[in-house]
């Protein structure tokens, strides 16, 4: 079972996100995504402005990074875990044009992309066509369209995940529709590719990972599925996001500076070659000496944890 994760900590201006993060860490979450929710990516020029004048582009906030001191991540350190903080962008999909806007760099800079379709056609498009990781719903009020099994099974095969936001279940008004929609999602996906996350508006809205897993049981997920909903499925979702950034899910290219310290050993072999190649005319001994140091490095790297990245 992968690390507990909550992929939807809502970033709001007035409420301090750091407080929510601290609560999440206290409760035992190790992977957290801070969610920037932008209602509308394209500005609706309803006044019918002339086409020439460029429509005002909605300013997309940069991905939020909360600075946490060592002390904050204290109780995670006790368990030998470390906090992994991701940024996430969510928008309401009300017309197909928005997807083109979402492909621009300022939105692609986010780690996770989530979309909330409003009509049947857009739901079908979100499931089958566009490159996103999470499909969310306005789970507080009645769903405006039916969840057809065909696009849903296509989305499951593509690795797109469906999100159930449980903080909607707290307000008495929206609780009944929250449970109804959650049941409906569960019926159509049979519990596969479901993530349950908080969408917390306040620090008190976050619940512990085991409580959330139990919520999964309430809406009918099987025992292992509801545990996965907060751990393995989220990890698969994050990996799906990495796949999006890679070239055709086959190769991913980063500059050497980005490489973390403990991953240096993966490119040492090439670096040794490069240095050797540049110092070609150097005498044979240099190569010998390079060999010995390389051997010394390799056994140590052999103990490298299997999951290097």
């Amino acid at each position: 079972m992968a690390a507990f994760s909550d992929l939807n900590i809502l970033h709001m201006e007035n409420v301090s996100t750091k407080e929510k993060l601290l609560m999440a860490i206290k409760l035992g979450y190790e992977v957290v995504a801070i969610n920037n929710y932008v209602e509308n990516v394209l500005v609706k020029d309803d006044k019918g402005k002339s086409k020439k004048e460029p429509s005002k582009v909605v300013e997309i906030p940069a991905p939020v990074k909360v600075h946490l001191t060592e002390r904050d991540i204290g109780d995670l350190k006790v368990k030998g875990a470390s906090l992994k903080q991701l940024s996430r962008f969510t928008t309401v999909l009300s017309d197909p044009g928005q997807w083109r806007r979402m492909q621009e760099d300022d939105i692609q800079a986010y780690d996770l992309l989530a979309v909330q379709p409003t009509t049947e056609k857009l739901f079908h498009m979100a499931c089958t066509a566009i490159e996103i990781d999470i499909i969310t719903f306005n789970i507080g009020d009645k769903l405006t369209y039916y969840l057809k099994p065909a696009p849903v099974s296509k989305a499951i095969e593509r690795g797109v995940h469906f999100e159930i936001v449980y903080s909607e279940g707290f307000h008495s008004s929206s609780r009944r529709t929250f449970i109804a929609n959650a049941l409906r999602i569960m019926h159509v996906t049979h519990g596969k590719n479901v993530i349950i996350s908080s969408g917390a508006r306040e620090a008190m809205d976050v619940r512990g990972p085991y409580d959330v897993a139990n919520l999964g049981l309430l809406i009918g997920l099987q025992e292992p599925q509801s545990k996965d909903a907060i751990s393995t499925n989220s990890r698969a979702c994050v990996l799906h996001a990495n796949t999006r950034h890679s070239v055709k899910s086959v190769i991913s290219v980063r500059s050497s500076s980005e490489l973390k310290a403990e991953d240096q050993w993966t490119v040492e072999a090439c670096r040794k070659e490069a240095s050797e190649e540049s110092g070609d005319d150097s005498s044979e001994s240099a190569a010998e000496e390079a060999d010995s140091s390389f051997d010394a490095a390799r056994p140590e790297s052999k103990r490298r944890r299997m999951d290097g990245v």
């Binding site: 593509r158 690795g159 991953d263 090439c270 999951d307």
Partner: protein, 230 residues
């Protein structure tokens, strides 16, 4: 045709009309004797240059092909049914695997690596400062990796992690690397993630989606898969 006197029991006289025609064509006396007819026939149908051979062959009762026939060429081993690749038996004959199982030393392949570096530099128009262009990344998919120094960064089989070496051969499911200790290692692609470095760019190669023959990789259209998990 044999002469009528000996076995008139077998052959009957030519009908009267044919005989009368024979006299008109002044063939009356030749008709009974076949050889004259045959030589006149040969003279009319066979080209003058091989008239002699035809006559000789006739005496030795051999078959003579009259029209010119191109002899059917026996297909050589490579052109059978227009196949481009060798089949397994021929490949064993060519023994292309033998080269890699022989004693390989790392040193002999360093020039191959430098060659590969030059090839890559030209292929991707590499500048350490500038990030790799998008289309350059796509060319990486179709590039040739013989000679590249590959390192196994992550793998399902822990003992493979840390193996690094120059790629000697790429088959559909494996890479054959020669490591610094001159050891030939066959690393399966499907369960590993490989990394190599090129002028300041670290390239991570997810083996799971790389399981194609090098020849197919150039023509294959890559579809992005669901996840890059091991």
């Amino acid at each position: 045709m044999s002469t009528p006197t000996q076995d008139s029991a077998v052959y009957s006289e030519l009908p009267a009309g044919v005989k009368r025609q024979a006299t008109q064509l002044k063939l009356a006396d030749d008709v009974r004797d076949g050889s004259a007819y045959l030589s006149s026939f040969l003279r009319r149908h066979v080209a003058p240059r091989n008239l002699a051979t035809a006559a000789a062959a006739n005496d030795a009762h051999q078959v003579v092909l009259l029209d010119t026939v191109v002899p059917k060429k026996r297909p050589s081993s490579l052109q059978k049914k227009g196949r481009r690749q060798l089949n397994a038996r021929e490949r064993r004959g060519v023994d292309c695997f033998a080269a890699s199982t022989a004693r390989q030393t790392y040193r002999t392949h360093v020039p191959l690596h430098t060659l590969w570096r030059g090839y890559m530099r030209s292929l991707l128009q590499l500048e350490p400062s500038r990030a790799l262009a998008a289309d350059a990344q796509h060319r990486l998919l179709k590039a040739d990796y013989h000679g590249c120094v590959l390192t196994v960064a992550r793998s399902r089989c822990p003992s493979l992690v840390g193996v690094a070496g120059i790629v000697l051969q790429e088959t559909r499911c494996t890479w054959r690397l020669v490591t610094r200790e001159d050891r030939l290692v066959t690393v399966p692609k499907a369960t590993c993630v490989f990394t190599f470095e090129l002028e300041g760019h670290v390239v991570t190669l997810y083996g799971k989606h790389f399981v194609h023959r090098p020849a197919d990789r150039c023509s294959k259209k890559f579809k992005s898969k669901a996840t890059i998990d091991l």
